[in-house]
Each structure stands twice: as C-alpha cells, then as structure tokens.
Amino acid sequence: MTNNSSNSNNTNKDKLNKLAADNSIPSEIKNLISKSLSRRTVLAGVGGAGAAVALASCSSGGSSAENVRWANWTEYLDYDEETGENPSLVDFASANGIEVSYKEAILDNDEFTAPLLDKLRSKKDIGYDLVTLTDWMTARWIRLGYTATFTEGGIPNKANLISSLQNPSFDPGRTQSLPWQGIMAGVGWNTEKIPAGIKSIKDLFSPKNKGKVVVLSEMRDTMGLILTHLGIDPSKDFTEDQFMQGIDFLDKQVKDGIVIGVRGNEYTQELRDGNVWAVIGWSGDMFQLKAESDGKFDFALPEEGGIIANDNLMIPVTATNNAAVEKLINYYYDPAVAAKVAAFVNYVCPVEGAQAEMAKFDAELATSEFIFPTEKTKSQLKIFRALTAAEETKFQTAFQSVAGNA
C-alpha cells in the first residue's frame, strides 16, 4: 500500500538513519548516508508502488485513486515490523481510497529544502504534497510563500490542536501549518554524578560540573533556554541586544571551561560513556536513555522554563491535490489515531484528547510527561520566535562563533 522506505532492511537502515539524523555529523557524510538511503528508498519504493497500483486496481472499482506524497523524518510514524507497513496509513487508505506514498526523506531541514528552492520559486512540482519541517524552517517557508493555505473547514479536526500551539508567531491561527510532533528541550543529567539533580540552568552551569557539560548545537534550543534563564522570553519580540546577552552568557561558560561541547545527538553517547555529566538535551533522547539505564539518567525542564519545537505538516504551494492532503492531515488529528502514533514515536503529542485515547490501550504510557506534558509543564514551554533573514544570519553567526565555528 505504502511505499515506506523503512520497510526494507530495517535495522541497518535505522542505524544509518540515526547516524544521518545526528547533527554533529558533518553534512558531507550525512549526504553520503542519505544518498545510500535514497537509493534504497527508490528500490523499495518501486516494489511498493507496484503493489499499490495492483491493490488500487482491485479495490477502487476503476476510479483513479488519489495519491499523496508525504516527506517525513525517520522513525516518525507507527510501523509494524512484521508486515512492514505503517498501520495508520493502511487504515487511512482503506477508509478513504487515498494512497499515501510515505518517504522518510528528511534528515536535515536545510539539506531537504535547499535542492527544492528553485522549484518552489518557479512553482514547479517538488515531488511532495506534504512536508514535515521544524518550526524555524516552517517559518521560513511561510515567509517565502512556499506553503498553501488550508481550505476553510478542510481540516475539521484542527480544533483538536492543543491551545498552547494554536498561535505561533510564524503562523497565527495555524492557517498554513499544523504540528506533527513536538520535541522539548530541557536539562538531562547523570544521577550518579549529580545526585542532587539539576533544577535550573544555573545548576547546569555550576562550577561543580566544570568540563562535564554539553549543550545542543541546535541554536534555538540552547539559546532559548539561556534567554529564559536570563529572564528574556524567547517566544516574544526580544531584541538583538538581548539575544547577544545570551550569547555572552554562553560564551562565558565556554571560556570558563564549564561547557566542553556544542553538539548534536551524540551527546547521548557522551552521557553513556561518562565523559559528560549534564546536558541541554531533547526529551525524546532522554526518554530512551532513562528507560534503558535503570534511572542512571534523568531529564527535566529547568524551573525557568523549557523550549518546545515542533515539526509541522505543510502543503507546498506546488501541490495540486490539496483536498486529499487535508483529509490525511485531518485523519492524524483524530485523537485515536494521534494516540497510536504517539505511543509509537514517544514525542510530544499536539492533539487534545489523544491522552484519553491512549489510556484505553496503555494506561501507563498515557501518563508519560514526555508525551503528554501536564498543564503546568505546558505553561512552562516556549516556542522560539520566528526570526527575520537578517536576524537568522546574525544570530546563527554569533552562536557558531561561541561554538568555535566562526
């Protein structure tokens, strides 16, 4: 039914995908990995497409089945290892007669977008009808007019979006983007080395942790937490001066030798190896670490507040089957479906009512703060505001300079 790229060679590919998704890994290598992946994706896709055509011709009684081409990140949808299918997509296809060709095509926001720019500018088909990109890249797409506006009433389940995500600065009222899953950034630590735990950003940068702290190379997560610590709201219109205060603060931690690295996903490995005791990290990773280590690691939002970033579903302006795509988005905003996906991917679920649905099949997981933050937690989560092009360059340059890269 679906041309899922994850259907073949799953374990190996997962490993490659993890490598490929690792921000710390140089892009050149990521390209190599993604190239080998995409070749396989093509091969797997050929088989899948054939099957889809065969099935469609049996079931749809002659009417041409619509097809939605969806680009998403790796391991970001429920997946059945035995059948090699995405159960929720199978259900969607049989209920609506819409085939979805699902591609785990996104390994990096910039690297996914860059080759599509010319086509987006000249409004030529980019090969996808639905893309899933992170807030800041979503903001850029919307700013540049690369996204289609949702049809009024086309996605009735949009009403299920949790209230805190309804009005981000880059898309007030959510007319062009809807969150797929959310990733919280907070603090993680080794409970053996730091038994008292870390309650705030101040604790994180305590001289006691000198040389044992790593922060994320994702600027918005690291700087968002630091700005919050300095009493500056990263979701509001902070000024350049305020941002630079945050940069100076981080720079001091680096110069003092407290922060030993500015890295991507590999911070989890450094925690495991014992080289690093405390991090600014992502909820999903820490959920894994905590689960596999018998409580050796823990994660919390600092008391100053945490950062949440979402990956958003968007319809490119070049799509021609918007009604079908909106049906698909609407389907995933059904709480029962959202619960199924969330139970699989363990990221923050943006759909109201999914928690109650999950409780029906996994009561324990449904209480997980990693998937369903409580009201109190949610009130502490901020979305980093959209930046102008000039700000993006200036801020990123300053951040990279602290990381030693500029």
Binding site: P26, I29, L144, E266, Q269, D273, A389, T397, A403, G404
Partner: protein, 295 residues
C-alpha cells in the same frame, strides 16, 4: 635513450602521427576532471565574491573580493589551528610510521603481508566510526585515561576527550596508513647490497641508516607527509567529534558557514584561501625536499 636505439623510421612515424588517439585516451580523465573539479571550482569561485540578497540562501554577484580578506581575518584563529594540528599530526604519524614501515620492510620476515594488511585494516571501517571510537578509547571509562591516572601522568580531574590532544591524536591515527605505506614502499625498494656496501666501508648500523637508508627512503617520507598533511589540514570531523569549542579547525568554520549560517560566499572564499595556503606551503616544501624521486 631507448628511443634513439630504435630504428629511426619508427620514431619519425610516431612523431608524425597526428591522430587524435592519445587525446581520446585522455578524454575520460579530462571529462572527469572537468565535471568534478573544474566545474565545481568555477562554481565556488563565482560564489566566493557574491553577497547576500537579504533573504536566507539567496546571493547576488557583486564581485566583492573583500570576502576573502574578511573571512580570513574572522577565521584566522581556526586557520592557524588547522596548520598547527596538521603539522603536529604529521610529525606524530611520521614518528610512528617510520619505525613501523622499517620493521615491516626489513624485519618482519613471513609476517610481512599480515602486517601490511593490519596497517590497511582500519580502512575497512568508516572514517566516522573510527573517529567516534577514539572518544571511547580516550573516554572516562577507557583504558588510556585509567592507566595515565594510575601512573599520575595526568591528574584525576584531567579528561582526555574534548581536547586538542584528542583532536591531534585522532588526526594522526586516521591518516597513519597514508604515511606508512609510501615509506614502506620506498624502504622496500632499497637494494640490500647498498646496505652491505655501507657495512663493508666500516659504517656502523646508525651511520648506515643515516647515510644510506634514510636518504633512499626520503621520497616515501615526502609523499607520506604530503598525503597526511593535506587532508589533515582540511579535516573537520576530528575537531568536531573529539574537540571542544576552543579546538575547532578551518574545516569546521567552512561547514558551519555552508550549512548552519547559510553563508555560501564566506564558505567559498574560505575554501579558496585554504586551498591557496596549502598549495603555497606544499610548493615551498617540495622545493626544499625535492620531488625528482617522488614518481
């Protein structure tokens, strides 16, 4: 020389032959060079003088040659570090590779092939994984740190990971085979009779090495140092994975400019400056060391 001894008619025939055949033989190579070297370089060159149009990822050609100077000044620290680390790594690799190659060439007996395979063996593992492995080798729970701490060579507070030490050792390790193999090849070619002759002339072992073996192996040393230094100077994986913010190299700056800051002109200008700097250094080095016997 050989040409002269041939029947002269043939030589003339060759000289007169203006067929395109040799060029056809060259064509695949030239095409390859054109597609994957000349074109990208030209593309990079025209990018290096552009300026931002105001929108992320869009640039306009404004022939701003100041890009070269500005980017160099901004990244001078990383520039210096690239050359310092690459030089250190080359020296370390040389110090390890020469005795190793010597032992393989002269003292290994039946084990020669096994040892050669062992030198190349790390290449069967991806560069990235080999580098990540060093993180564990030098890590808190690794043997190196434990031994050095027990011997009080480093203090209990000192960590080896995320340091300049880790970056340089990583570079030396990753490029070691490039140093070992050329040296081995030139040592292996040495005629044993020259060594015997040296002994006959009452030179002791050390003098023989200094006066005969070392000079004869110099082509290998020159080739090895070039093959190590050039990639090491442009490397950014070791600094990224094994270093900290204060040990970043120029490769990291270029990578961040390309992919994080989306400032292609600066990245392109820096790439050119790095290329030019390496070329100048290498030219100087080869003038000094001589290349007659390199090929």
């Amino acid at each position: 020389m050989a040409v002269i001894s041939r029947p002269s008619g043939k030589v003339f025939a060759l000289k007169d032959n203006k067929s395109a055949f040799p060029y056809l033989l060259l064509a695949p190579g030239l095409l390859w060079l054109f597609m994957f070297f000349i074109l990208p370089i030209a593309n990079l060159a025209q990018m290096s003088t552009k300026t931002s149009s105001g929108e992320t990822g869009e640039f306009v050609q404004s022939y701003r040659f100041a890009n070269f100077f500005d980017s160099f000044m901004d990244a001078s620290g990383q520039f210096a570090r690239s050359f310092l680390y690459a030089t250190l790594a080359t020296l370390i690799a040389l110090a390890i590779a020469y005795p190793l190659a010597y032992a393989i060439a002269f003292k290994s007996g039946k084990l020669k092939n096994v040892l050669l395979v062992l030198v190349i063996a790390p290449f069967f593992v991806s560069f990235l994984l080999r580098t990540i492995a060093w993180k564990q080798i030098l890590g808190e729970e690794g043997a190196v740190t434990a031994i050095l701490r027990t011997l009080h060579i480093i203090s209990p507070q000192t960590t080896l990971t995320s340091s300049a030490f880790a970056v340089v050792t990583g570079l030396a390790y990753n490029f070691l085979p490039f140093m070992t193999l050329p040296i081995y090849a030139s040592l292996e070619r040495i005629d044993p009779r020259t060594l015997e002759a040296s002994g006959d002339l009452y030179a002791n072992g050390f003098t023989t090495f200094r006066k005969v073996t070392l000079p004869l192996s110099m082509p290998g040393v020159v080739a090895g140092t070039l093959l190590t230094f050039i990639p090491a100077a442009g490397d950014y994986i070791n600094a990224n994975i094994l270093g900290n913010p204060n040990t970043k190299m120029l490769g990291n700056v270029i990578e961040a400019r390309f992919f994080k800051i989306v400032d292609y002109p600066t990245a392109a200008a820096l790439s050119f400056t790095l290329m030019a700097a390496i070329l100048i250094l290498i030219t100087f080095y080869i003038r000094k060391a001589g290349t007659e016997e390199l090929v």
